[in-house]
Symmetry: C2
Subunit: 196 residues, 2 copies
Amino acid sequence: MKGYLWTGGDPGSQKTAAPLDNARLAPWESIAVEAVGNVIEFWGFKRNQGRVWALLYLRGEPLTAGEIERELDLSKGGVSMLLRDLERWGAVQRVRVPQDTVWRYSAETDLVRMVTHVVEEREAAFVTRIRADLSEARRLAEGVGSLPTERLRRLERMATLAEHVERALRLFIKTSRLDVAGVLGAFRDGALSRKG
Amino acid sequence: MKGYLWTGGDPGSQKTAAPLDNARLAPWESIAVEAVGNVIEFWGFKRNQGRVWALLYLRGEPLTAGEIERELDLSKGGVSMLLRDLERWGAVQRVRVPQDTVWRYSAETDLVRMVTHVVEEREAAFVTRIRADLSEARRLAEGVGSLPTERLRRLERMATLAEHVERALRLFIKTSRLDVAGVLGAFRDGALSRKG
DNA sequence: CATATAGTTCAAGACCGCTTGAACCGCACC
DNA sequence: GGTGCGGTTCAAGCGGTCTTGAACTATATG
């Protein structure tokens, strides 16, 4: 989510899932990789975190940092950092293939868990904060003697609204988690080889 | 939502609903205004759009652009653009007080409608796009002869997941709209004076 | 130990959206 | 017409994040 339809309208400029530079990738891979990049960015992560995960997931077998670097046309340092983040979040696993010295990385299905989890944390904290701010404002406002009750009421309505939105949001996260959990089964079932 | 807990952790640096420069505003106003600014930014709009709307809403009576400029410490040009956006979205109304030459602006309760509406549009378009991309990828992949079925399956699962998330999201928007609509009643009911 | 290659770190810079401020327009009033 | 003021526009600057690339560490090998 960057510049969408905001102020200017400017429709039709939808950021394309561009073939970009990943000329190395098969077209279908490229499209899927970019799509995941978009989603992940939308949810507040870095686009390239999504791209890396998608590549690893689609390939199925572990890749080296160098391969990722080439396939996605990223810098060495960038790949290192992206992998570290993904690994820390449990979205990617670092594996060592027997009689080989380099690290390889394979996708965990947990990108999904990671997203729901982090988003949940973030959203919850945020929403809580807003509520706290609004009740603080209300407390202060009530302390002001000469405040027209009408203005106080407006403030209260604002707070009420915030609470309702919070409820809706929590509900969304909960149902969404359930729904996703179902699909996770699908991710896990198949004969998805995973080095172990 | 800017830099939250992403890569670095860095907790406790929660962006405060700072007293900022709006020394002119009563503390409770300032807090509430900033809170709304945060929310609105979180949903993908400009922080200052939220601040302007909040100020107008809390004040109850129409303000001039100059007043807004001073109260929120914004630039002339900025206020003009912010008001234009808000007006276009129906979140603010431009009113002319009898025997006065300047325009004044008053808050519509429709900020809420605006947010749900725009967010809905945006989210829907986005999600649709992702789905389209993924099925395109799938179509292409199926056209490739020598593709291991396992890899194809992974792609398919990705698409399935996207569909599920889409469903959850649409559900959220729908229930959220209903919920918000309920509160809108509360916004409208009271003896909220509106120049007419 | 010297060399080479994988991996990490981080300052510098690219990039991008938001805000500013000055030029400009339009209207009222003298 | 001239002056003043509200309002608009937009190029330039600012502030933020993300990426790069070079220096650095770690590890294997001869």
